[in-house]
C-alpha cells in the first residue's frame, strides 16, 4: 500500500466545481481516496495553486513524422541539449525534442497526459515504441483516416455500416484512441501532387467530398461510442480567406452527443484567416468564434503561434509543400499508402513579419472570443505554432491585458489594422485556465470517467502543484510571476508518485497507453470481408496479418472497450 497526503493545497478542480478551496488530498495506490493512514508520506503544498495534472489534447511528440523532424534537424537537437544526470537521460532538441526531453519538460510544467495528434495506422507500431520511451505521461494516439481508401470507397458506395466497421477494426488493430482527419481528401489528392480547397471539392479518383468524409466519420464515431469525438484538421489550412471553409464546415456538424462535443476542430488559429492573398491577409477570429459560441457541439483548440524558431509537422503533406515554397529552408514529405501523408519544414515566426504577427493575434483572439472555456483548449499544436514550453507565456497573455498590450507594441506596426486583439479586454481567471489546460481537455477527450482531468474520489492521482499563491498575486499585473509558476511546478505527481520537484526529475517512470477497442458484434468483422482482404493483399505493401500492433508494444495498457450500436 502506497499512501500520500498532499496538505494545504489551494485546489481548483473545475469538473468537481471546486474553485479555490484549501484542502488536503489523500492518495492510495495511485488513486484519490477519502483519507489515508498516519504513515502516509506528506507533501505540504503550502497553500499553493493545485490543479489536476495537465492534459494536452493535441500535440505532436511521438511517431514517424516527429522522429523525422528530429532526424533532419541536428541544429534543433543542439539547441536543447542537457547532460545526463541521476535518473535523467541526456536530452536533445528544442522544437522537436527527444522523447525523454518531451517527457521531462511536460512533467516539469505539470502535464501528465498527452494525446499524440496524428498516427498513420500503417506506422502505428513506431508511435507506440516512442510512447514507451515517454515515461512520465499517459499517452494516446489519434489515428489518421483522412485518405483511407477503404473508407472513401464505402462512403462512395453509400455503405455507412462498412465505414464504421473499418474504423472500428483499424482503431483496435493499431491501438489508436480517436479518429483524426487531416485535410480530409487532401492527403489522397497529394498522392499525385494535387490538393483540395474546401469541403465540397471532389477527391480525385474516389468520387467523394471532404464533407461526406467528415459526416460519415462523425456517424461512425458515434456508432462506435468512442470516448472522443472526431478530431478534425480542416481543409485549406494556412491560406488567406480560409475562415469561410472553417465556418462552412462547423455549420454542417450535427449535435449528436450529450456528454461531449460532436466535433473537435484543432489548431483553429491556422484556419481563421481573412483576405484574398498575403497582402490583404487579416484575422477572421470573430466569425469563427461566433460560430463556435452558437454551436455547443464544437470544441476547438487554439493552435497559438508564438514568435521564434520551431518546426512545423503535419499529416497535411500538400500544405507543408506550399509552406516550403514560402520559406525555402528544407522540406520533408512522407506519403503513407492508402491512408494519409505528412510533411515537415522548419519555420521562424517573426515579430517583424506582418503575417506572423497577425497569426499570433488570431490565436489569442479565439481564446478570448470563445465565451465558454470548455469550448476552447489552450494549445500551440506543438510544435507547429510553437514548442509547448511556451504554454506559460500563453497563459499569462490570456490572463493579462497589460501583458498583451506590451507584446502588441513589439509586433509589426500594421497588425492593428488587421486584428481585433487590442480591443479585447477579457482577462481569463485561474478557473478558466484550469479548464483550458486540463479539465476541458479531459472532458473533450472523454477520459474524465477513467479519472483524468479532475481530483474527485477515485480519480487518477495526477496532480500539479504550482509555486504560486493565488490570493497573493494579481495575474493582470504580475504576469511574470504567472509565467514562472506555470513553467515549473513545485511538485508534479503522477499516479500518486511525485515525479518532479522544483524542476528536478525524480523517477524514471513508466507510461500508460490509453487506447480504444470497439466491440462491434458478430457480422461486423471487416477483416473477414473478401473485398477488404483483397484490397489489403493487392495494394498494401505489408500483409494484413502483419498490420496489427501486438500487445507487447504497450508497456502498460489501458484498453477502453466500447460497445457499438449499429
Amino acid at each position: 500500500m502506497n499512501e500520500l497526503l498532499v496538505k494545504n493545497a489551494y485546489v481548483i478542480d473545475p469538473i468537481n466545481r471546486i474553485n479555490g478551496e484549501v484542502m488536503d488530498i489523500a492518495i492510495r495506490d495511485g488513486r484519490i481516496v477519502e483519507d489515508v493512514g498516519p504513515k502516509a508520506t506528506v507533501i505540504d503544498a503550502g497553500g499553493c495553486l493545485t490543479l489536476p495534472g495537465g492534459v494536452d489534447s493535441h500535440t505532436h511528440v511521438c511517431g514517424t513524422k516527429v522522429n523525422f523532424g528530429r532526424y533532419m534537424s541536428p541544429e534543433d537537437m543542439r539547441a536543447g541539449r542537457v547532460a545526463r544526470r541521476g535518473v535523467k537521460h541526456a536530452t536533445s532538441g528544442y522544437s522537436v525534442p527527444t522523447t525523454y526531453a518531451n517527457s521531462y519538460r511536460y512533467a516539469v510544467m505539470g502535464y501528465t497526459t498527452l494525446l499524440e495528434g496524428a498516427m498513420a495506422p500503417l506506422e502505428a507500431r513506431h508511435t507506440h515504441e516512442e510512447f514507451s520511451a515517454t515515461p512520465l505521461q499517459d499517452m494516446m494516439a489519434n489515428t489518421l483516416f483522412d485518405g483511407n481508401w477503404g473508407i472513401m470507397n464505402a462512403i462512395r458506395d453509400g455503405d455507412q455500416e462498412r465505414v464504421t466497421e473499418i474504423v472500428g477494426w483499424t482503431l483496435s488493430a493499431v491501438k489508436g484512441f480517436g479518429i483524426k482527419l487531416t485535410n480530409p481528401g487532401g492527403t489522397e489528392a497529394w498522392g499525385f501532387g494535387k490538393n483540395i480547397t474546401c469541403i465540397k471539392d471532389e477527391v480525385p479518383n474516389f468520387g467523394v467530398t471532404p464533407i461526406e468524409i467528415i459526416l460519415a466519420m462523425i456517424r461512425a464515431c458515434e456508432t462506435l461510442r468512442l470516448p472522443h469525438s472526431v478530431h478534425l484538421h480542416c481543409n485549406n489550412l494556412g491560406n488567406p480567406g480560409n475562415y469561410a471553409c472553417t465556418v462552412g464546415t462547423f455549420n454542417q456538424v450535427p449535435d449528436l452527443n450529450e456528454k461531449r462535443q460532436t466535433l473537435y476542430a484543432t489548431h483553429v488559429q491556422f484556419h481563421s484567416y481573412g483576405g484574398s492573398d498575403w497582402k490583404t491577409f487579416c484575422s477572421k477570429a470573430e466569425p469563427v468564434a461566433y460560430t463556435v459560441n452558437n454551436r455547443p457541439q464544437i470544441v476547438i483548440d487554439m493552435g497559438q503561434v508564438m514568435f521564434g524558431k520551431t518546426t512545423t509537422m503535419t499529416a497535411d503533406g500538400p500544405m507543408e509543400f506550399n509552406l516550403y515554397r514560402l520559406h525555402h529552408d528544407k522540406w520533408s514529405n512522407h506519403d503513407v499508402e492508402l491512408e494519409t501523408g505528412s510533411g515537415i519544414i522548419p519555420v521562424y515566426y517573426r515579430r517583424k513579419n506582418l503575417v506572423n504577427s497577425v497569426m499570433w493575434a488570431i490565436g489569442l483572439e479565439l481564446a478570448l472570443l470563445v465565451k465558454n472555456p470548455w469550448q476552447c483548449m489552450l494549445t500551440t499544436d506543438n510544435p507547429n505554432g510553437a514548442p509547448f514550453v511556451k504554454y506559460p507565456e500563453i497563459i499569462a497573455l490570456l490572463m493579462s491585458k497589460k501583458y498583451r498590450d506590451a507584446e502588441f507594441a513589439t509586433v509589426h506596426p500594421e497588425t492593428g489594422s488587421r486584428v481585433v486583439l487590442p480591443a479585447l479586454d477579457r482577462e481569463l481567471d485561474w478557473n478558466e485556465i484550469a479548464v483550458m489546460t486540463r479539465a476541458g481537455q479531459a472532458k473533450a477527450l472523454g477520459i474524465t470517467g477513467i479519472g483524468k482531468g479532475h481530483l474527485g474520489l477515485g480519480a487518477e492521482a495526477d496532480i500539479a502543484i504550482y509555486p504560486i499563491r493565488v490570493g497573493e498575486v494579481d495575474p493582470a499585473q504580475e504576469y511574470r510571476k504567472v509565467i514562472d509558476a506555470f513553467s515549473r511546478t513545485k511538485y508534479t505527481i503522477k499516479r500518486g508518485r511525485p515525479v518532479t520537484r522544483d524542476g528536478e526529475v525524480l523517477v524514471h517512470g513508466e507510461n500508460t497507453t490509453i487506447w480504444v477497442d470497439p466491440k462491434m458484434g458478430p457480422g461486423h468483422d471487416i477483416s473477414q470481408d473478401t473485398e477488404f482482404v483483397k484490397m489489403f493483399d493487392r495494394y498494401y505493401s505489408v500483409r494484413m496479418s502483419n498490420y496489427p500492433v501486438q500487445d507487447e508494444y504497450l508497456k502498460r495498457s489501458l484498453r477502453m472497450e466500447t460497445e457499438a450500436v449499429f
Binding site: 511521438c62 514517424t64 522522429n67 523525422f68 528530429r70 532526424y71 533532419m72 534537424s73 541536428p74 537537437m77 541539449r81 542537457v82 547532460a83 545526463r84 544526470r85 535518473v87 537521460h89 541526456a90 536530452t91 536533445s92 532538441g93 525534442p97 527527444t98 522523447t99 525523454y100 500503417l122 506506422e123 507500431r125 513506431h126 515504441e129 516512442e130 520511451a133 497529394w190 498522392g191 499525385f192 501532387g193 479518383n205 509543400f321 516550403y324 528544407k330 522540406w331 520533408s332 514529405n333 512522407h334 506519403d335 503513407v336 499508402e337 492508402l338 501523408g341 515537415i344 519544414i345 493487392r538 495494394y539 498494401y540 505493401s541 505489408v542 500483409r543 496479418s545 502483419n546 501486438q550
Partner: protein
Amino acid sequence: MIYTDMVCPFCGCLCDDVVIETEGDRVVRVDNACTLGTHKLMTTRKDRLKGPIMRDGAGGWRDASYEEAIEYAAGVLLDADRPLLYGWSSTQGEAQGLGVSMAELLGGVIDSTTSVCHGPSILAIQEVGHPGCTLGQVKNRADVIVYWGCNPTEAHPRHMSRYTTYADGFFLQNSFRERKLIVVDIRKTETASIADEFVQIKPGGDYAVFSALRAIVRGRGAVVPPTVAGVTKEQLEKIAEICKSAKFGAFFFGVGLTMAPGRYKNVRNAIELVDELNRHTKWTLTPLRGHYNVYGSNEVFTWMTGYPYAVDFSRQIAFYNPGETTSVDILARKECDACLIVASDPGAHFPRKCLEHLASIPTVLIDPAQTVTTPLCRCQIPTAVTGIDASGTAYRMDGVPIHMKAFLDLGYPTDTEIVGRIFEKVKEVRHP
C-alpha cells in the same frame, strides 16, 4: 510446420510475405524470398557458434560460458576511457535501445553501419530535407522509376517485383508496360540491362549530371554543354522530359552516390532535383537501405538521442559530428580503447587501417555466427537471429515498422538479452 507471412531478415525491403517450412529445427523450404533471403533462411544453422569463445592467452581460442563472456564484456567496457559501440543494423530495435542507454551511461560512442552506408544521405537530408513516401505509394502510383547508383537486382533482389517495375499497382493497368525505368550508373549492371533508358556516367560525374538535369527542368537548358560527364545533352533532355511528364515519379539511389566523389553533396543535389520536379508533378525519393534494420537503428537512436548515428556521450550530452564521431574516423585515429560490436561485420566491411586498431584493443563481438570479424575480437558471444529464432522490431527502408517473428528455437539468447545482461553488470559498477 509451415509458417506464412514471415519477415525476411536480410535487406531493407523487409519482405513480409515469406513462407517457411521446417522439419524439426531445420528449414526445408522457403517460398517468396529472393536468393539472398532464401540462402540466409535455409543455411541459418551453419557456422553458428555453439557458445561464447574467448582468446586463451596462448595465441588461440577457448570455449567460455555466457556468464564469463558477459562478465568479460562488461569489464572491458567499464575499463575503457573511450568505448565504441558499433554495429546494430542486423538486430532487434529493442537491443538497439539498450545499446543507446548503455553508451550513455558509459560515456561512449554509439554508431551503426549507417556511417559506412547511407550516412552521407542523412547528412544531405539534414541540409535539404527528404521528400519521400512508403513503398506501397510507389507500387500503386509510380509511372516513372529511377534507380541511380544502385543495383537492386543484386542487392535488393525483390525490390522491383514488390514495389516497382513488376509490381501491380492500383493506378496502373499493366505496370510493367506503363512504368518507365531509368537506370543511371557508372557501369552497366544487371539492372541497367532491363532499363528503358540507361545513362552511363563517367565515375565522379553524378553531381554534374544532377546539376545539368536541374537546369533543364528549370528551363535553363541553355547553360548545359553538349556532354556532361560522358552523357549527351540530348539524352539529358530526354530524361528530364520523361521525369517532368510523369504522373508520379520515384527516385531510388544507393551507395553509388554516397561513396562516390562528392559523397553527401551528390545526394543533396539528387534531393534538390526531386524538389524541383515537385513543382511540375509528384516525385519522391528513397535511399535503398542495406541491412534489414539499419533504418531502425537510425530511428531508435534519433528518438533517444536526437541523432541518427555517430552519437558521442563522452561529455554526458549527446554530441554528433560525422567525420569525427563516426566509427571509421575513431578507429583510424586509434582513439577508442575498447569496442563492442553487435550484429555487424566490420572485419569484412571496414578499411584495413581501422581493422588494425580493432585487432589491437579489447574487442567483443556479439554475433550468431563465425564471421570475418571473429579473428579480430577477443571474445565472441553468439545470439539468436532476429526473424529466425528471435522476434523483435525492424524498420523498413521507407520507415514502416515491422514486427519480426521467430519460427525456431535453437536455445540461443537474444541480442536484447545479452546486451541487457552486460548493461546490468555495467550498472552495478557505474550507478545511473
